[in-house]
Symmetry: C2
Subunit: 254 residues, 2 copies
């Protein structure tokens, strides 16, 4: 199998290092990742800007064994997570999406459940995969801080990939997988919880005496008692597996 | 009525100037727009970066009449289209989304049909509106160049807003409206066409002798004969009205 990996925290983040190591159990791994943090980049692409693509020398990298390194090629770019997928597909795979058996994105440091899926660079990369009919799975852990404890989540990741690859996969589908930190009770299939952020802007006077505005906020779960949502699953110790689709049509309204 | 306007082409673009003028027919207009082009910014938000918000003095602006100017407040920011909505809501409307009766975004210079909806900053702003239960409508014209001929599209815009505001509006819904350039046959309700971009990366050697990569591409319609799609409508002279939903759950897979 050929596995493409990306993320939005950048190459070197704890989550992508573990994901890369794990994916060598499934086949050859190509990583194309941002050269630094691109959180909340959604499906942003670098229209009108020159992008770089540089191969990373893993010789002195002690995150992988010699055997693992033989299966891993890593590239970094100044682009976004979506750019990573487009660069990989066009430059490294000769515009042939059928050569990529699986796209995995993450492990993101922070929640991508509920409305966050729309802002997520991790999931944005998967949706760009959907555009090209590449099967995509995004992994996230509910902890914004690195290092975090990924030891409970880790045993599920390869098995989830194997299992989901064996299920029917219709056009536009990608999976948004979120895990709580700590011990896990199992896996729940979920839908996107209705939720929003409040108090999202912090005002501050900068050194030049001018007002500036920073993104912050408090997440509000609009349906805390609905047991079929991603937020409920994670709040109750389960891994949430949310099937998403890049077809955003509201068929109910049609 | 209180109408919030934004776009991804930046304040001063032909499309947003016309949209602002038209919306004065419906009520008071607050514009919060990027200070320059933010095409393909999707739902990107400026996490970890200071944002500006500056009021624009319209005194010498000859795009609006004196009567229109009394109904218009304009702000620009260094942020993204999604940031514009978050800044407007939090800073100008005191975190009270119910004070905004309608969010309109555009008129975008370029198509936001098919897969483009996922990359669109115009629609990204509407999806941020959805997060906050603000009714959002994005307008786009199939022409990347300015100035373009908006005279055929113009008479539909206020009427479409009035009509859609009168229809049931469930949580997460926003409308993605695309028009062809030139004469129009009418309006079609549509779904998102399956499509993708090919040959998306152009390689070039820069002045330092290094390879750089630019986003480009050719759009491929994967279902050119499906008469219920946005692409079909626009290709056949109709305005496409696609209801979208910010709930990306693939319920068919669940």
């Amino acid at each position: 199998m050929e596995i493409l990996i990306t993320n939005d925290d950048g190459w070197g983040a704890q989550g992508i290092m573990l994901l890369t190591k794990l994916m060598t159990q499934l086949g050859h791994v190509t990583v194309v990742a941002p050269d630094g943090p691109r959180s909340s980049y959604s499906n942003c692409i670098s229209m009108g800007k020159p992008m770089t693509l540089e191969k990373v020398d893993l010789t002195d990298c002690d995150a992988f064994s010699i055997a693992e390194k033989r299966q891993i090629d890593v590239y970094v770019t100044n682009g976004t997570p979506s750019d990573c997928v487009k660069l990989a597909l066009n430059v490294l795979f000769n515009d042939q999406p059928e050569r990529i058996d699986l796209l995995v994105s993450g492990i993101n440091h922070g929640s991508n459940a509920s409305i966050n899926v729309v802002y997520s660079g991790t999931m944005g990369a998967c949706f760009t995969g959907c555009e090209h009919n590449i099967k995509g799975i995004g992994f996230s852990i509910y902890d914004n801080y690195q290092p975090t404890d990924l030891s409970y989540f880790e045993p599920y990741i390869v098995e989830l990939c194997r299992h989901l690859l064996d299920t029917p996969w219709r056009r536009g589908l990608a999976y948004n997988i979120n895990a709580p930190k700590g011990k896990l009770k199992g896996i729940k299939w979920t839908r996107q919880c209705a939720g929003h952020w409040e108090k999202e802007i912090r005002e501050q006077i900068n050194e030049q005496g001018k007002k500036e505005y920073w993104i912050t906020g408090v997440f509000v779960n609009e349906e805390p008692n609905a047991e079929d949502t991603d937020e409920w699953a994670v709040a109750n110790g389960y891994i949430s597996v949310q099937p998403c689709n890049v077809d955003m049509t509201d068929y109910a309204s049609l």
